[in-house]
Symmetry: D3
């Protein structure tokens, strides 16, 4: 809110909450990294609530500070970073309009040469983000999630939170060979989504393989898959075990711990990272607020990665 | 679940929960009154959650018993009553399809000569219900709510939870002169919905008039407005003060008490009542469960009214 | 956040939350009314938590809209209104420094000729507000609360949430003869605070008298007491019954309803109102969020009063 | 815990919680009034949880202070009052043993000439209390509740929370003609309990009559019924509307407000009161803690009544 | 509710909740596996609430789908599976009657040649289940729990939730040599239960040994102990760490993770499994609902095991 | 409360809650170990609430029993142990007075030759404890926490919950060379606290090193650091991952598990332990109550250590 980063040293409960207590600046011009909310959850199959995710992640992100205790990166020393607000919608009830609105918002950010780091919203929003930022070439993807999100449709809809990466792949926005999906688990009524990922070259690390390999080997595998091409990080909090992230629409028990998630993200330093998102934080199912705190902290971890990449460009 | 109403004398926490512990019977044939869930909340402007309303109202309705302590009516002595399940949807993400699915479900009930008593879902669902049951003639309406729900559109959508009675009126399904709206309150960005109601002959009892008149005078006025024509009762729980019904999408403080609501409903005996609904119970915002208990109890009150009307036909 | 009030017509869960979705403008210059947070609760005797009040009231105030449904006042048509942020503190652990910081903040607002409407924070903050805005002449006070807050000290401290009006009166900032205290109740270990109020000419309306008189007579009495001199409204949410406001530090059962509170406030139109506050909203004790919603709605009610007064000056 | 009542002036969150912060003294000898917990809920028909009632009421009773703000009674000036702990059980799973254990505990208190004021536990516990204290003569009863608790049995058990006053009446411990039951409501599967009360001379004030009469007339009627014989007050918190007392096993909407309850109790001054209880506070269903606060405050109200009666003997 | 498994592809919040969205069929005839609720918690020593376990596990089990993501087993392809409802009770307050009612219910299932998979209720219910299904020969047992549940009595009762396996063993229904108890931990006032297990040949894997061995070695040990004889799985959710299962009556910190539990269960394929249960899910202590979700998911894991065993018979 | 330890075998929900159900005895004379509450949280930088920690830890400590299931230590056989109540304050709003009050209380315990085991309160309270018990010689320290708490000041205050070990070290009460800090993590705005620890010889085990080493190596390192000199254990529950301890003021994701914490503490047997504390349990942020249960259980673990040390003196 303030343009003054000293606000970070105030007690955390004070002030209008922007992401990470960064300045609020609706126009992305001049920024290196834009923090963006996408308050949309009209595409979920079970519990709604992720529409409230950006606001509550902003609230909990007041707990974040500047110097990373492992890497010693201070992203605010490396980059110009601001909260540019939420995507707004002209027709929040119309899936096609929602896709257009999100795409248009990110196209503006992308045109300004700014790296987007987003807080969803349900996972459907990643597809229009890709439409805006992957026009030049298909992106690599590091995708943490309980579900591959490569299903074809649900209840007749092709734009919903189980389909974004199928749509992006079909549109040539996502490079299947440079995609790794981590933490996948949970029964399904059809193997169709799993099959789509496997048949299209995606590296699917089911939760059981994750546990067997250990996080360091998973990091190595993820780095191998995405290589040095431009890569996006998409983190669905239901990839975590629901004790860490109960506030989500389709929890699956038996997931990743936050230590594993932090270690995994920290293992991605030096990749060619061009954007990221944290999605599916649903505050109404989060009585302790921990899910939003987890979401905000993982957002900070990704911010450090993006800032270092950007600064080293 | 059982076809045996003795299940009502079991401890309330036992068994698969149907509405009021009535038998589950998907086919309405042979019934007098059908209890129906409409688990849809894709048309709200603020918090979703009413999709979970039918299930939680079924759960809390186990607390209901048979003999009304004031009227001594036992609806199960007067009528054949069952839970016929939920409306199902082929395309839950498509507003037009939702309207068609709900209309088709109620058309089947209506064709069987069965009186519907429904648990929403958001208030948008009342419009397709009217499309099914008001074909023969426009209905009168006793409408308890904080909002007139006669707005024109929101974010470009004409089918949303602030518009059902405008749509029904425009379609000739609702008789404006036989409509009373009770408990209206709360600031608006435009007076357009209030104006539509007033300009189309609806009797709008704002909360302040409700308080001044007292509930007995409101009953008299409601009876005068609807007369002896066929009348529907639509009860949005946000008509109640949010201390009674915190679990709702757009709460407005300063509303009706449950004693007033019960008194009001009991004052409607003898009217020509042909259906009713309780809508906008949103369990994710209801930490104590009281909203669903209130919803279930008011549903029982309306059930007694409908049963008496039906038995006296 | 936006300077554009059209943001009020967006879905309420979107955007960075400012009070009432007004523009954020740290400098009060040019405003008629400033909305201010005072996130301080270091002076409570029981549960802390009101430090989180401003942020959660901002969050819930997204539910507010513009046109009052009774008075038809649109405060945004009458006045220039903005959220000027929170009082910041240099030494949040030092009572004397806190008093100085708050006083300095409000002195700046006062010097700019701007009417302050504040969200606490515990009730201690009203004393330094008075130090800033009552320099010219002692103010009249309409005070809704369960406690007179005219005690002398607690645990050796004279600056705490049970003492602000004693301090203000001792300093000549509060006119005892033009002070009315409404909703007082609850056992005490000493009658000292009650006695101070009565012995210094304040009109104390205990809850039992409130119930007996009815709200219209209370309005008349309040108007009589404050007359046409400059008057401040201080609303401690523990004046309400704790079912309406469980999220507060020292709840007392048997209080005012929200309908009564709204009616009371609406009865104050035309008085010479020069500021107001809503205090003691403590979100950690508010599982449903209703207390903050109540707080935000009452803040909107007072905003309408202040805007009308200001516009008629 | 301390024998020093100055502990009442400490911050309320401090210390080991006894009822009202009175001294803990297991032996009733020398006391006028004993505060007692009965942590038993093995006789409920729906949700358990009242076993945790005494502990949580002790916790919340730290909020109580000494001087009543209406009557100016300070019970601690009038009587020697202590927390004598909880009834302990040798066989908490055996209904007959439970009855014996409770009766024996109260017989000891009664033999010491001490007036008992109890916190339940479910309502079944009042029957063995009567067995201990009504040996000499049947007692009059002022009974606030949603249910008459004069049913015969449930699931084969005659000792459960819907039967205590039938059992007490059958045993000649309760004088039906001097019994008033206030706040009764809610559907039943059989009118048998209502009928038992009416056929045995009890004055049953259903909720609707309560609302019509108003609380002052109810007080007059209650005083008329019990006359000047020895009288017990039994307050089931489900007599209150569940917004005031969600934490209870069998809530019924449409009940008494806390203001009405306080007014009612204050209207009983001067009666020949020889004991009382607050029952059915069930903390697991009480997310905000308000039910226990209400229970503790009503316990304080009854304590003032008992102290005045005792002092005037 | 429907006999149509397509209901599994509907949104999960729809419909009357049966276990796993299987058809409701009160008569077990013709089934391979019956899903059963035992809503009884009258035998706990601390917090009650497991009476509500079956209903909430049914609710959360809507999240389950058909194809296991590791084994690719679809139990519904292998077996005829239905929800046959809850055990009902004639005398829920009488321990002996409860034992008789449960035994009779399972005897009927057993006589029909149907494998029972149950949702408790407290752990006492496993004893009468054994009385019904272990008549022919003592069963082997894989028992996950924080407590050995081989204590002798509590408060004079031999039928309570700390004693079922002592009773079953004493009755010759449980083969001590073919019993393994996993996850045991927490202080005790007497080592008597631990000693009983060890002295009677049971293999007790305390939590510390579990951690040291790792889950694969525990699987091997469990398989060694039970061999190829008929074996029952009894899973008390307090075997899990309370972060995964806060909703339980006697939580003990430092327990099993859900990944470990899932891995353990999946390691039991090919054993001669003849029934199982998930017990001690207590929804009132489960604000996020995760305990019931965990319970439902583990129930699905056991269902896959039982279905495979049954199909391979 | 009782002087009778048999109260430990009663159901856990009964009775006035003292720590571990030990006798309440305000005078420490004659004890070996005193259990003490320090209900103070006036020195936190974010959420308050730890003032309620002692009461809720007492409540949850009813779940504790006597015989440790690993070590078989029964501390009550080894030592005289009692709850001596809470530190009381004369001026809870004045930091200097708070330091004096706490120091004086512990000086009295220390003078009686009694080992203190405390429940905070925020972490600031450990500094005045050190002032009382480390007069003779600087103490060694095993410190589990997310933060080093060796910062210099916050908002101008040197006595706050991020500074106790800096103050103790500056005063010569803490031996930096015999200090190990375990679990440190989370971003900071300045490295100053980390630097102070490292520059003053403290062994800082950041969370990442903890994970890499494993808990057994951490135990060995901790034992090496503190050697056989007198050593204090200070356990801030934010050292744990917030899924185990959401109820704390400044949670940091990615922390220690309870199994690791228990293993770590059990690895400290035989050290020269002279006191300990569990701090920062903040019940208002702990909807499930698990944080207080964790706090009480860890307090029991430390009690076993202290009892063994004391008995072997």
């Amino acid at each position: 809110m303030s343009t003054d980063q000293n606000q970070m040293s105030l007690p955390r409960y004070m002030g209008v909450p922007t992401f990470m207590r960064t300045p609020y600046q609706p126009d992305p011009a001049g920024l290196d990294i834009a923090l963006i909310g996408v308050p949309y959850d009209g595409a979920v199959t079970n519990r709604a609530g992720a529409r409230h995710g950006p606001r509550e992640m902003r609230n909990q992100s007041s707990m974040m500070r500047s110097i990373h205790h492992v890497s010693k990166i201070n992203p605010y020393d490396l980059c110009r970073i601001a909260d540019i607000g939420d995507v707004t919608f002209d027709g929040v009830f119309d899936h096609d309009a929602v896709v257009r609105d999100i795409e248009a918002f990110y196209a503006r950010v992308h045109a300004a040469g700014v790296v987007p780091l987003s807080a969803g919203g349900d996972h459907s929003v990643t597809y229009p983000i890709f439409k805006a930022i992957a026009k030049e070439a298909p992106l690599g993807l590091i995708h943490i999630d309980a579900h591959t999100d490569t299903w074809d449709q649900f209840q007749g809809s092709k734009f919903m939170h189980g389909t974004p990466f199928r749509r992006a792949h079909e549109d040539g926005l996502l490079d299947g060979e440079r995609t790794v999906q981590i933490g996948i688990r949970g029964a399904q009524n059809s193997p169709e989504g799993w099959d789509y990922s496997l048949e299209n070259g995606m590296r699917v690390i089911f939760m059981e393989e994750f546990t067997k390999l250990g996080v360091e080997a998973v990091i190595a595998e993820a780095r191998r898959v995405v290589g040095d091409g431009p890569t996006y990080i998409s983190f669905d909090v239901d990839g975590l075990d629901p004790v860490y992230a109960p506030g989500t629409g389709t929890p699956e028990i038996g997931g990743i711990t936050t230590i594993e998630a932090q270690t995994l993200l920290r293992g991605l330093r030096g990749l060619n990272l061009i954007g990221g998102d944290i999605v599916e934080v649903a505050p109404p199912s989060d009585p302790s607020g921990n899910t939003a705190l987890v979401g905000a902290t993982l957002m900070y971890e990704i911010l450090c990665l993006l800032a270092e990449t950007r600064a080293n460009r």
